[in-house]
Symmetry: C2
Subunit: 436 residues, 2 copies
């Protein structure tokens, strides 16, 4: 990573933090990286997951008991935990592209942090339970967190670089996963092929990989990973939604595959086209909610084109019929968190803009702006429980149930790319990695 | 799994629970399976880990929001969570070797449990935070938990069967890992080869796999998993401590390998012999603490035999010299938890027997008895920080530092087997799987 790119990023961050802290009435911000939790009645721990507000300030994702102390107008201080411990791996003291930008102190014990912390005009962000009696400032003030969340929607060039690299890693892994699918691997084995190609473990992934063969593609968050391989004759379809990490930034990519030529293969191909039309709709000033609505029009078009419904796309959107086939939202902000923060914020100072009542799962209601990063992820699924409800409803007659039965064994299709909104064009990081 | 074997197991359990509940003054025991925790400021969850006291009553390890309600003298009731949810995979209603033994109710929503629970003369075991205001009985009473923990040291034939199967899975995976090591795989890739052969994912393992090449073998809980493969000339040694799960029961096996013939290979081989002598020492009525002490004698013998120390084994144990090379304990109870509970208990009614002051990490101080299951895991390591302390101490002259430098690049060696203590013999489940 280029040192200057990071230095510029941190300069932008510092300006933001200076302004926001001043507005919120704080001089100092103490951010704790976190600590692993022990399992109930056991001596094993849950995997460590870093406080996202910590990795927002420094690209360290794997070190508990560490702190960033940010004082307005000063070089940020990093308290980096580095115990003398013959039981566990201890990371080396940082000496890399970002380390010059921090005043670094090493902590041999978690409690040594106390000497560096102040509660005076200070705010604290982190899990506070272990700090009873510590002077660390006001704990997790919501108005401060809201401002920081709002600002995170606008990415810097360094952040673009990290997101592109996360996409590069994930696309390489998606290609390995497709290969494993075509070779007859089980869901469990496909996941291992993915992790191997990514060079990242299950607990380094930004979210639990969704890897579904056949009907499992219809379970939106299917993370069960069956170990049963399918005989060749039973292989129909494959849906994979899986990401990767680069310096704490996430990729979040979905691909769907047909095992054979035929109607489902055509549906996958048609969905690729619709998805690219939606990506092209990410223009500064446009409304993400409107883009979601136009996605439902396109789902209606596909349903009509493939003979699943007997009505027009317009009527299917109007009646709510398309919602049976695509119950989730068009996409979300992407960044340090896979569902990056702030998608429902009305303004930096506060307020929430909920999604329209008929689309409760839409994660983004903000106006699309330059330097924002989104996923675009239209989908079309044959979901037993929702089809069951539909069959009992007044809309049942508008559906071609023979066609539903024909497509149901394929589960569903989703295509998801990661996109940067620039002033005069959109950058599809995902397709750039595929070379198309 | 044989139905009758499980039925007999549950009959034994019911007798135990009836006695213990009566002694502790309860009629009803409500045990909650647990629920995944959300990550700080995020909408992702930590992996689900079942309450060990839940899986002690029913072989279900992957279903949150479920309950066992145990009433003295009655068939246990299982509240099995099975929501209507198009987002997530929902397990089928249980119909397997254990399901006839429970009165099973399906819960569509977590709160439906309320209707089945009573607080009257009841105890609750589980994470209580989400049950404010629920009538579930006395929360996690320590005297009850202590009695249940004590009893878990005595395994039933069904439990032996599960532990043997966990060993079978783990040994198969250890063999795949050795193959990957010899083929030049990185630690990260060796781990994936292990998981693939086990057919179990990272979060299904009973503990974080320890996979260390060369010097990494000296970090006792090394779980870092480097993605760097080593060139052939730099491959020296491989230590792997990894388990597997069967119906909630754990394997916990360590093997060490030399890449080439030579002194370290001889040390590994000699450690196998010492380990088997120690396994043979697991006789009913013997003291695990004394067995740990005899382990230190054997480590002293190896240190002398390989020329690492200049003194006698006896003197090396006496002076504490052997503790630099084996800082951990000889082993621990094994069962539903990898460090199974109750190893320091003095009596079922209470009291703790700490390990001797010079061996603070020894996990078992109870008398060895029939039907107990242990790990035996002697080790010998070259640990930088401990060798540094030794070099500064009065014992420095007793060490052959040239030999230390020669062996240090190999990290260390540990051999760990899983053993059942029978009345008249020990059963080494691990070596039975290796066929030797
Ligand atoms: Mn996704
Ligand atoms: Mn997404
Ligand atoms: Mn072990
Ligand atoms: Mn062990
Ligand atoms: Ni989910
Ligand atoms: Ni540890």
């Amino acid at each position: 990573m280029d040192k200057q790119l990071f230095a510029d990023h941190l300069a932008t961050l510092c300006k933001r933090y200076d302004d926001i802290l001043e507005q919120c009435g704080f001089d100092t911000l103490n951010v704790f990286s976190g600590a692993p939790s022990v399992q109930f009645l056991d001596d094993n721990y849950y995997p460590f997951r870093v406080n996202p507000q910590f990795k927002a300030l420094v690209p360290v994702t794997d070190n508990p008991h560490s702190w960033v102390i940010y004082r307005r107008g000063q070089k940020p201080k990093l308290l980096f935990y580095r115990p003398v411990d013959f039981w566990h791996y201890v990371p080396p003291a940082p000496q890399t592209f970002w380390s010059d930008e921090y005043d670094i102190e090493l902590l041999a014990k978690p409690d040594e942090a106390k000497a560096y912390l102040t509660g005076e005009n200070a705010a604290f962000i982190g899990e506070a339970a272990r700090f009873d009696g510590w002077e660390i400032g006001q704990r997790n003030p919501q108005h401060l967190i809201a401002q920081l969340h709002w600002a995170r929607a606008y990415k810097t060039p360094y952040e673009f670089t990290c997101l592109r690299e996360a996409n590069r890693i994930a696309v390489r892994a998606h290609q390995a996963a497709e290969e494993a699918f075509r070779a007859g691997a089980s869901e469990f084995e496909i996941n291992l092929a993915y992790l191997k190609a990514a060079g990242q473990g299950e607990n380094q992934m930004p979210y639990g990989n969704i890897i579904g063969l056949n009907e499992h593609g219809a379970i939106l968050h299917y993370t069960h990973l069956s170990t049963e391989p399918l005989p060749e004759s039973e292989r129909r379809s494959f849906l994979i939604d899986a990401g990767a990490d680069c310096n704490g930034y996430c990729a979040d990519i979905t691909r769907s595959y047909a095992y054979r030529e035929g109607e489902f293969a055509e549906l996958v191909s048609a969905m690729h086209d619709k998805e690219q039309e939606l990506v092209a709709g990410l223009t500064p000033g446009a409304s993400y909610v409107e883009l979601h609505k136009s996605c439902h029009q396109k789902i209606g078009q596909l349903l009509q084109q493939f003979g699943v419904i007997k009505t027009s796309p317009e009527s299917a959107v109007e009646s709510g019929l398309t919602r049976t086939f695509m119950p989730h939202g068009l996409g979300h902000f992407l960044g340090l968190q896979v569902h990056d923060v702030g998608g429902h914020q009305t303004a930096p100072e506060g307020g929430t803009t909920p999604p329209p009542a008929e689309y409760p799962f839409l994660r983004t209601t903000r106006t699309i702006e330059e330097n924002q990063v989104f996923t675009i992820e239209p989908g079309l699924y044959f979901i037993d429980s929702l089809l069951g409800e539909l069959k009992e409803s007044q809309l049942a007659d508008e559906v071609n149930w023979d066609k539903v039965e024909k497509l149901r064994p394929f589960g569903g299709v989703r295509i998801e790319d990661n996109v940067i909104v620039h002033a005069d064009h959109v950058e599809n990081m995902t397709r750039d990695c595929y070379g198309n």
